[in-house]
């Protein structure tokens, strides 16, 4: 009889431990992963998409003829400014990530020069105005010496989404255009398309 009771007790406490264990197992684990690894969680625009776009655009823009044509004609490297990359898609997409990638690759190639965009310039000009008042004459950078850009990089992201029952199709098209500031000629158009199919389960 006593033995039976003890057995019952053990069983109950075991079950209790199990419940407790289940309730207490909510801890945060962190794993560092390579930035090139692909993790698709929600199917929305993510770092992988941004990387795919920048790698495609970088190889494309450096390969194409506009660069050598300009260098041969003018005997110097072209100066580029980043304009607006409009997000006309269905998602709130941060376009700055692949633009920054593109900028970095172009500058590091040593064949293209970049000037600060209209947003960045404000701060620089304030600093220059401040220098004219506060910096010693020998170290001052005076106004009116800015480098004018030859090309402007513009672009847009467009999407087509379709959805029926549990299946979603997401299609992204990213277009970047390099426009000659002198005569509005488009000298380079880069394009990257991404298509995803999402299946959602009935149950959770």
């Amino acid at each position: 009889m006593k033995h039976e009771w003890a057995q019952k007790m053990i069983r109950v406490s075991l079950a209790g431990c199990l419940l407790f264990g289940l309730a207490a197992c909510k801890t945060t684990t962190v794993a560092r992963v390579d930035t090139d690894s692909v993790q698709d969680l929600s199917g929305n625009w993510n770092d992988t998409d941004s990387r795919l776009v920048s790698s495609r655009m970088v190889t494309d823009v450096l390969d194409k003829k506009w660069l050598t044509t300009y260098q041969v004609q003018h005997g110097k490297n072209p100066v580029v400014i980043v304009g607006a990359v409009r997000n006309l898609s269905h998602e709130h997409i941060n376009t700055r990530t692949f633009i920054a990638d593109l900028e970095r690759e172009l500058i590091n190639s040593g064949e293209v020069e970049f000037v600060a965009s209209s947003k960045e310039r404000g701060e620089i000009r304030n600093e220059r105005a401040d220098q004219s008042e506060n910096a010693s004459t020998g170290t001052q950078n005076i106004a009116g010496e800015e480098l004018g850009a030859d090309f402007m990089l513009q672009g847009q992201i467009n999407t087509i989404f379709d959805e029926a029952k549990d299946t979603k199709v997401k299609y992204y098209q990213i277009d970047l255009t390099l426009i000659d500031l002198k005569d509005n000629r488009k000298v380079w158009v880069g394009q990257k398309k991404i298509k995803k199919i999402l299946e959602t389960g009935m149950f959770r």
């Binding site: 929600s42 998602e91 989404f161 959805e163 009935m202 149950f203 959770r204």
Partner: protein, 427 residues
């Protein structure tokens, strides 16, 4: 006997105690005192349970935008959207809970009109931040959401104001053909709704102006016939700028639990609880926007009170079916208890079953009762602006100062005001 007690205990433990809507009083009070920041703090100090997470996020986002925290508000809305996506699948555990205990055991997924409203308010946040492209993203998402709702069987297929807002955004972006499509859909939705909302005159003017601009002669003529408007006023847009003012009046209706006793064949009454909407009062009969020397009455463009009621009405058949199924199930449990454990056990289980039978009174409570809109076309310049609110007897109740507004050529200036009047519940 012990097994039955366990079942009873489980029922008590699983059911939520206070209903959702009654726990909202303090926040409501702070809003009536025009203290959104304090209301936000109050909300953040009392995070909701996991199944009410969506409501928490929606209320938080609303209070954040009322406090002027537009970026934070959008972050909360984005979190809410992700949660809605996650909750789309059916949870078997929750379904079982809803069938045996009550509807509040299900994770709140948001009513159809609430899901659509997320996009409206996120778009308005982006407009307030001056990011029209991002507001446009929301306009596109509304379209996707409504397309999906039209596929379902909920019967909620169009949302007039979100279409109209989308049109305004496209037009502000200079995308006139997209604007025209959105305005058309808004027109159809306003015309076909059963909510006592007419087609706003501003929308009529937009339709006339754009159909002419896009060279849609036949359509223009149809609109001319349908509206009988003085066109000269709506078409003299050249060289002018525009003020678009939105007024959010009061708060959305609140759900109360109403109990009904249903007599089954055994003669023992069964308690069934249904949610019923209780409107919150509005003290405004009309509002008038004044910019410089020009004035324009505001028009009702969105009526959440009516939309919410209509939505609840459309859900009722399914809800009643579920309630009856549950009542029968609970009756069977108590009958079994009586058989196996005697009168007392049957009585106990019955009592528990009745106590756990509460209605699901969850809804997005920080939405406004209604939205009014006014638009004025003006020559570029700086003007003093104000908004006059008229009471139910037509008396001037309040003049809200909108400060100096700068009108730029070809630009739309969006402004918004919210008016939540003090209101004491009688109970």
């Amino acid at each position: 006997m012990s097994k039955l007690l366990c079942v009873g205990l489980l029922l008590v433990l699983l059911s939520g105690c206070a209903s959702y809507s009654s726990s909202f009083q303090k926040i409501e009070l702070l809003l009536e005192q025009q203290k959104p920041k304090e209301a936000l703090l109050e909300l953040e100090q009392h995070p909701r349970s996991n199944k009410d997470k969506l409501l928490y996020l929606l209320d938080k986002a609303m209070l954040q935008r009322m406090s002027g925290l537009y970026l934070e508000s959008n972050a909360s809305f984005e979190e809410a959207k992700a949660l809605i996506d996650k909750l789309q699948g059916t949870s078997l555990v929750e379904q079982a809970g809803a069938l045996t205990i009550n509807d509040s055991t299900m994770s709140y997924e948001g009513d159809d009109f609430e899901q659509v409203s997320i996009h409206i308010y996120e778009a308005l946040n982006y407009i307030a931040l001056g990011q029209l492209d991002e507001a446009r993203v929301e306009a596109l998402q509304v379209d996707v959401r409504l397309k999906k709702l039209a596929e379902g069987e909920s019967g909620y297929v169009e949302d007039a104001f979100s279409r109209y807002l989308a049109g305004l955004i496209y037009e502000a972006e200079g995308e006139y053909d997209d604007a025209m499509i959105a305005y058309r859909k808004a027109y159809k939705a306003y015309k076909n709704n059963k909510l006592n909302m007419g087609v706003p005159i501003f929308l009529q003017q937009d339709l006339l102006r754009l159909s002419k601009k896009l060279g849609l002669a036949d359509e223009h003529e149809t609109f001319q016939k349908a509206f009988a408007l003085d066109e000269s006023a709506s078409l003299s847009q050249k060289g002018k700028g525009e003020v678009v003012l939105l007024l959010f009046d009061s708060l959305a209706p609140i759900k109360r639990s109403v109990s009904l006793l249903v007599y089954t064949d055994t003669g023992i009454p069964k308690r069934i609880s249904m949610p019923e909407y209780q409107s919150r009062p509005s003290y405004i009969s009309r509002a008038r926007l004044t910019v410089g020397t020009h004035s324009m009455d505001a028009e009702l463009v969105d009526d959440f009170d009516a939309i919410a009621r209509a939505s609840l009405e459309s859900h009722k058949p399914a809800m009643i079916a579920r309630l009856l199924a549950r009542a029968i199930l609970k009756a069977n449990i108590s009958k079994n208890a009586q058989k196996q454990g005697g009168e007392l056990a049957g009585f106990l289980v019955d009592a528990v079953a009745m106590a756990t039978e509460t209605a699901d009174t969850r809804s997005w409570l920080t939405l406004p009762k209604s939205i009014y809109l006014s638009r004025l076309m003006l020559e570029p310049g700086v003007y003093p602006a104000s908004l006059t609110l008229f009471g139910k007897q037509g008396e001037v109740m309040m003049v809200m100062d909108l400060g100096q507004v700068e009108i730029n050529k070809g630009k739309k200036l969006f402004m918004e005001k919210s008016f939540i009047a003090p209101y004491r519940k009688s109970n």
